[in-house]
Amino acid sequence: MNMADQVALQEDFNTRTAGAVGFQMAAEKIIPIPRTMPQLNLANGTLAAGLKTTDQAVDYYVRRFVAVPLSPEVRTSLIKFLNGQLGGTSDLAAARSYAEEPLRLLIHLIMSTPEYQLG
């Protein structure tokens, strides 16, 4: 093995070792930050607010999160989306047991509208 290849091997080893030791030192310095997920239950909250249908839910959450009204086309699209997610029904009570994820996606969509940024 010639000198250049020996140097290359040593440098490669040193670089990897240094990298591993550096990572270990950094990991030892980590201070874990406890994180608590927000304890949401949108399905219960929606029904507790007296909302019975998907269009009522869309209007409720749009008023809650968006400072300006959305266009009729977007509103219709959101209602259609929620109906589809609930398996074709607009009855929130009937869909209570599986409505959590669809409602979270609805909130996600509302927050994805350009108007959401006009706080």
Binding site: A8, S77, L109, P114, Q117
Partner: protein
Amino acid sequence: MSVSKYLGRGLSRRDLMRHTAGGLGIAVGGTFAPPLFFSQMAQAQAQAAKNGKILVVVEMSGGNDGLNTVVPYGDDAYYKARPKIGVKKADTRRIDDYAGFHKNMLGFEKLYKDGKLAVVHGAGYPNPSYSHFVSMAYWHTANPGGGEQYGWVGRTADAMEPTAKTPNMLVNVDVSQSLAVRSEKHVPLVFDNPDNFKRAAFFSESEAVKTIGETSAAKGNATQRWIAGVSQTAFAAEASVRKAWADYKSPINYGITGLALRQVAALIGAGFPTQLYYVAYRNNSFDTHVYQVGVHERLLTYTADPIEAFQRDVERLGRADDVVLMTISEFGRRVPENTSLGTDHGSAGPMFVVGKPVKGGQYGKHPSLTDLDDGNLKFTTDFRRVYATMIEKHLKVDSTKVLKGKFETFDMFA
């Protein structure tokens, strides 16, 4: 017309866009109440077809070693300074008795022989910085030491079209926007992979997201209408880019990397109104401090092949008379090799200008390999002269305001 006074919150249009489509790296129209994107696009395409000169800038990030690119085999000082990594004359493609291209630059040799490649020697600037970030900022802003907030490509767009009515005047194919394309009036279209250039959403949300993006706020106040317009143009822009990419079919082989020039060719072929394109190597690829030889010669292949292929592609598209490509790098490398069989940050280096309108040949003087500045080349060409040449002689705009000074141009265009 300024948008700021209508927002009523002290937000500038730029701030708002930063939080909306601009933050997604998506371009928006420059007018306050943008008409439908596609009608703007159609008008701009028609205009571009009439006088649409195009400049493509390729950034060879990291500091390309110019001496091992355009090898001065006619100067013994080169081999004295680089006994191990100096490129032998037999491993070059001859330009003249003094220098030749590195052998891996077959594409550049072809372009040079066809008279479509100009080599500008010794490009640099006074009091060079050897920091990647600082020096690249100087090349991006064309204002060494000036702290300019807008890029020279962005300022060129502003000079070419102060009203900013043409959408997507600037395209930057990269993961994030370069300072070079930062503009006061235009918003650059920035994307990386055209196939992924779309609003992220869960699959089940796709239809709703599309409606949200495309639906105008016909009612509501001026701000609502404006932000709805931003959203519409963003969605239209991404759809146009993806369509252009999907429609792009080329028999040209761009080699291993392509350098994002295929994406540029796709947009040119689709008739985009873009006149300024910017692509770059990432992660300071040319920063060859250690074991330079193998890495650098591969990089030169990755550069020369796609640039030559791009030239053939624009000829195939019938736009060869309009398109010129220029390469830059934030600095060259030191003349002597280092002890790690590489080279360290230097100063001057060559720039290359490619295109059918270009008068091929050599411009400027080779920097001296003996009259050095502490081992660094003394520049012989201010890089802003090359910028001025592109701006005035190709794009037909006054460069004085763009470059914040008068720089003598080269007689590089027929």
